[in-house]
Each structure stands twice: as C-alpha cells, then as structure tokens.
Amino acid sequence: MHIAGTDRGIVFTRCPALPNAATLAHQLGMIPAQDRSGLPLSQFIGADKIAEGVRYWLRYAGYSKPLWAFGNGEDTRLVAISRHRSACPVYVLQNSGIDSTSDLRGKRLCIFRDAGLKLDYNRIIYLQTYAAALSGAGLRFEDVQLVDFGMDRDTFMRRAGVDYGRLNDTPEGYGAPINLFTEIARISVELLLTGKVDAFASNLPQGVAEFLGLHKVYDPALENDVNAAHDLRCLVVSGPLARERRDDLVAIVSGLLRAGDWARQSGVEKTSQTLARDLRVERDVMMLDTSDIIKGMAIDLSPDDIAMLEQKKRFLIENGLLRNDIALADWADPTIVRDARALANTAEGALAS
C-alpha cells in the first residue's frame, strides 16, 4: 500500500488489539507530528500492511512477526521491548476429571488458527500458554491433541463494529464490546461446552467462568517462570530509518518513554481508560488480557529483555515456527532507547513531544 505524502515522511503503525507504549503516547500527544525537518510523521493503528512500500517506518506490536520477518531477511532493527503480563489460563469443565495439568495427557486442547497468515502470530500466544502448562507436568505437545479452529473475520468485525486492519477509520473512543481475543475465547467456550474439546486457553471474565462452571486447571498468574507468564511486544523500525534518520527515531522513542513515565504517575484507571480509547474497545474487554498495565507501558532493551526474547525465539524454533535462527545482538540496537532516555530527561525531549 502506498501512502500519499509519505515518500520521505515516517509512518508509525501500532497494534490494534493489545495496548503498548505507542498506544498511550499517541493518545497523550507525545509522538511528534513531524520529523525534525518538518516532514510528516503519520500514525496508524491497524495492520502492518499500512506501511508496505514505505522506506521509513516503525511498528509497535507483538514480538513474533518482526522476529520471523527479520529471520527471513527483512531489513529492520529492534529498538525497544515491553513486557506484558498477559498469558492465558487453561480452563476445563468442572467435574471433567481434569484436576491438574498432568490430567491433560491425551486430552483435546483447542487452539486458534488463522490459515491465511504466513506466520500465525495469534496462535503463538496460545501455544505458549499450552507449552508452559504442559511442561509443568512433564508433558509435551505430542502428549495432547491440538484441535484447530478458525474464525470468520468478517462476522467478527461486524460484531465488533470496527475494521482492525485500519482502526483509524473508527472514531477514537468507540467502545467495541468484543475484541479478537474475546471472540477467540467465546469460540473456545463453545467448543468446550459442546464437548468438542476438553480444555482451552483464554482469558475470560470471571463472572462468565463462574456461571458456566469452568475451572482453571492452569493459571499463569501463579507461575514463577516469568517467561511463561509474560508476553513481549516490540518496537521495530525499518533499517533505513535506524541508519539514516536516527535523530528522528530517538525523538519518537523519547515520547514513548515519557508515556511510560506518565502511566506510572497516573495509575491504572487513568492509563487503562486512555489506552481503551485508542483501541476503540471497552476498557473491561481490553483489560481481560492485561494484568499489569503500568509495567507494560515501560519500554527498554536491557540484557534481561534480550534474554527473554531469546527464550521466545527458541520456542518458535523448537515448534517449527521460525526456520532461520538469528543473532538477536545483530538485530537489537539498545543505543536508541539509551539516547531517547537522555533526550526525554531534557527540556528538548519535552518539547519534541
């Protein structure tokens, strides 16, 4: 897709489903409207296809797709990571005889599949949960039966009232009653209640789980292993942007850092309302898949972050989702965040935002 007026400008896209620092920074006006030479910086919430063909771009979204793309030769740099405590529990029916994760052996676990994607990044979210649940009981995917299910996206978007490919087309503040993950959860519940599967992984409203008599057989909130309980979201930029317009990039990232600071000072209520406004979704729906919203707004690229991404990468490789191993050190550029922090701490940083 070619975006008029962006041949020299910068395009910044962000995930339409899950909140991150770019979601917040946009709402707070902390991302500059133009670069240092006065060229436009266009922001879009939606699919990364929006930036196809654009030379200078940034995207803040889940980690798996940019990792996979870099592994396939895409010229990008990893600039920042945020950790999100957003893993899903695994539910079964009460009195199903499945009382612990070891009882999942031989059972049918449903999992979302989007056959139209080269990399099924949403499926990976659930795969991670199952892997963590099973490994705790000494089980592997070979010990269970994964039951794929899909979704009619047109029906889903009609129900939600938004087009997640271009969420910009929907007015800010519109509160969709569902999002992709609640729809996946709804289909999963249906499969469980109708006896087609024995367990599913999803976040559910507590009242719904209780009323339907569902039992958590695995809860990542109780998990000691932070890798199992956390998901990563990444700020990835095009190679030309990192190489040719570093100052502009630093200015943008300083805005994201300041947004994270704002979240820490403003608290959960204010932050979550601001994020939900940007995502055009009801706050409670958004919060279902986010249990520590403030921490998720903090970006960094520390050795610990890289180590966690390394584990996620290993997971993708072991499960055949990433064919080419990559050296994360070659991909990551921690100097941007470092310099952006320095800028954010100056008056110029405040002005730039």
Binding site: R159, P177, V189, L204, G207, F211
Partner: protein
C-alpha cells in the same frame, strides 16, 4: 405426643418468601414457643414433599400443590404471595430468531425431571415459551418441543449448594443451544454471559404487560388434618409470616439479604431477578391473587400438566389468615375490621 404429631412446616429454597424472613428473624420460634405445651412445629427449608406427614404446611410454588389438589389431595390454600419469576428467552444472535414471532417452527427445550410424580420443572421452563408464543398469536403447537430428561437432586434443610438446579439447567440449556439441539432457551442469565456468548433476548416476561406472564404466586398450603386438628399451630405460623411481611415493609434492602441468606442463594442473583422483597413478603387471598391463580391453573390445564380441573375457591380458605390478623391486632391492642382477602399491612 410423638414426633409424628408435630406440624412440619417447609419453605422453598429457591423462591424466597416471607416464610424465609420469618425463619431468619426468629418469628417462627417466637410464635411456636407461645403455643400450648405439646404442640410443636418443625420449620424446614428445601424440597419436602410431606409424603407420610399428617400435619404439614408448605410455602412454595403453586403448581405442585394445584396438581395434588386436582388429584384430590386433602389440602387447603391459606394465602398467596407475589413472586415474579418467569424467565427470559434467549437465542443465538447468529440465528434468525429475534422475536417471539420467529419462534414459529423452531425447536425449544422441554425439560423433564425423571422420577417425579409431578414434573413441576417442566411447567417452569415451558411457561415463558407459552406466554411469548401467545404474545405473537402462536401456541406450543407452532414449535417443536425437544424433550430432555434431567435429574434433580432433592435439596433439604438448606445446606449450601455448589450449584443450584436453576444454575445447572442454565448451563445445560446453554450447551443445548450452542450445540444446535434447540433454537431458544428459557433461563435467567447474567448480562455478562449473554453478551459474551453472543446471545439475544427474544422475550422478557418482566416487560410483558400481562401479569400472568411474569407473576407466579407462591402458595401457602396446609394439610387438611393440620387445619382441622392443629389449627392453633397453623394460625401461629401464619402470624409469624404476617409479622415478617410487616418487617419487610420497613426493611426492604435487609429483607433481600435475609432471604438470600436463608435460601443460600447469592444476593446478586435475587437482585438480578429484580426481586421486590417487600411485595414478595406479603401474603393475602385478594381478588387479584385469586384471579392470577385462576389464570395459572388455566395455563397448567392447557399445557396438559393438570389432567383435571378443580374448584380454586373451594380450595382457598381465607379464615386462617383472617384469624391470624385479628390475633396480631388483639395482641397489639388495635382493632380494625378485617377485610376478607387483605393481609395486615
């Protein structure tokens, strides 16, 4: 006197009444302790059929009592209390069923509880379909009843339940609806569940202008032997219930809490049902109540639940309620003419 000489008084554990309050407030104990030596009443909570009991009273739903009466049971109805209990109907949003008219030709669940002489629950789950169909000029003959046989555990003495029968039925029906076995279900579902499962309310009896669609009076019924041979005890029980109704009129919010606690029902459920605790706590034999009971009886006859008719006026005995009101007034030093059918308010 032996234990079998005691009057067994039971109250429903699913539909709170003034009897729930009378028990919770200790009014039964107070009134029963004032009875002559040797006269005893045992107040109980739950599913009690009173088979084998000679002296008994029960404050609960009316259908089983009417069915028994239609089969010649030696019982009398002493009073009735207000209860709005009918369930909304739900269909999947993805289905073509969005109003009662759309029910024509659809499949609905007909729930049968196995092993019971009288299948009370069938009437409960069928009634909203009948009233909704009626509102669209249709009847049960326009839909396909899909029979489901379920088990219902008898609950006695109000022990806390992990899941009540209505909740179990809600879960079952959701399963039947989602698996395509039926096209519509009758159940009280939390709005969050309705939204999450993408269901649509196609009929809500609470919004039906016809009270017969939304009201299902509770009946205070007594065995003939208790009425004839233990009248003082029966009157004492009714006095306790009347006092509970008076208390509720002054303590609406607390009444809901006490009713919920007595029946071990989460308070949120009663609030979700929009229980009018004050009204539900009053008993009477008013013309309005008798008319509603007549309508209810006609429904049960039309649905084939009652095989034979009976005389409702003959079954109803307002004299005990009147006597209880006079005694309460006398105790307080007040004296007014007791209107037949009116409760002491």
């Amino acid at each position: 006197m032996t234990e079998t000489d005691a009057v067994e008084f039971s109250r429903c554990h699913l539909a709170p009444t003034a009897s729930s309050l009378a028990a919770a407030l200790g009014y039964f104990d107070e009134e029963f302790s004032a009875l002559p030596d040797g006269i005893r009443i045992n107040a109980k909570l739950g599913d009690h059929s009173h088979e084998g009991d000679r002296y008994w009273m029960r404050h609960a739903a009316n259908a089983k009592a009417m069915w028994a009466r239609s089969h010649g049971a030696d019982t009398r109805a002493l009073a009735f209390s207000w209860y709005e209990s009918a369930m909304p109907l739900y269909a999947r949003c993805s289905s073509g069923v969005s109003t009662p008219v759309d029910l024509k030709g659809s499949r609905i669940a007909s729930i049968h509880v196995a092993g019971q002489k009288f299948d009370y629950d069938r009437t409960v789950y069928l009634r909203p379909f009948v009233t909704s169909l009626s509102s669209a000029g249709l009847s049960l003959s326009d839909v396909e009843e899909v029979a489901f046989s379920v088990e219902r555990e008898q609950v006695r003495d109000g022990s806390p339940r992990q899941s009540s029968f209505p909740l179990q039925m809600a879960r079952k029906q959701i399963e039947w609806l989602l698996s395509g076995k039926v096209d519509a279900i009758a159940s009280i579902l939390p709005p969050q569940v309705v939204s999450f499962l993408d269901l649509r309310c196609i009929y809500d009896p609470a919004k039906d202008p016809d009270p017969l669609a939304r009201v299902d009076l509770r009946a205070l019924v007594v065995s003939g032997d208790a009425l004839r041979e233990r009248r003082d005890a029966v009157v004492a029980a009714v006095m306790a219930i009347l006092r509970a109704g008076e208390w509720a009129a002054q303590h609406g919010q607390e009444a809901i809490s006490l009713m919920a606690a007595d029946a071990h029902i989460p308070e949120e459920i009663l609030k979700a049902r929009k229980l009018d605790a004050v009204r539900a706590a009053q008993i009477d034999t008013s013309a309005e109540s008798i008319s509603l009971m007549e309508g209810r009886k006609d429904f049960l006859l039309d649905a084939g639940v009652l095989e034979q008719d009976f005389d409702l006026a003959e079954w109803t005995d307002p004299s005990v309620l009147e006597e209880a009101i006079v005694k309460l007034q006398s105790r307080r030093g007040t004296s007014t003419v007791v209107q037949r059918g009116a409760a002491a308010r």
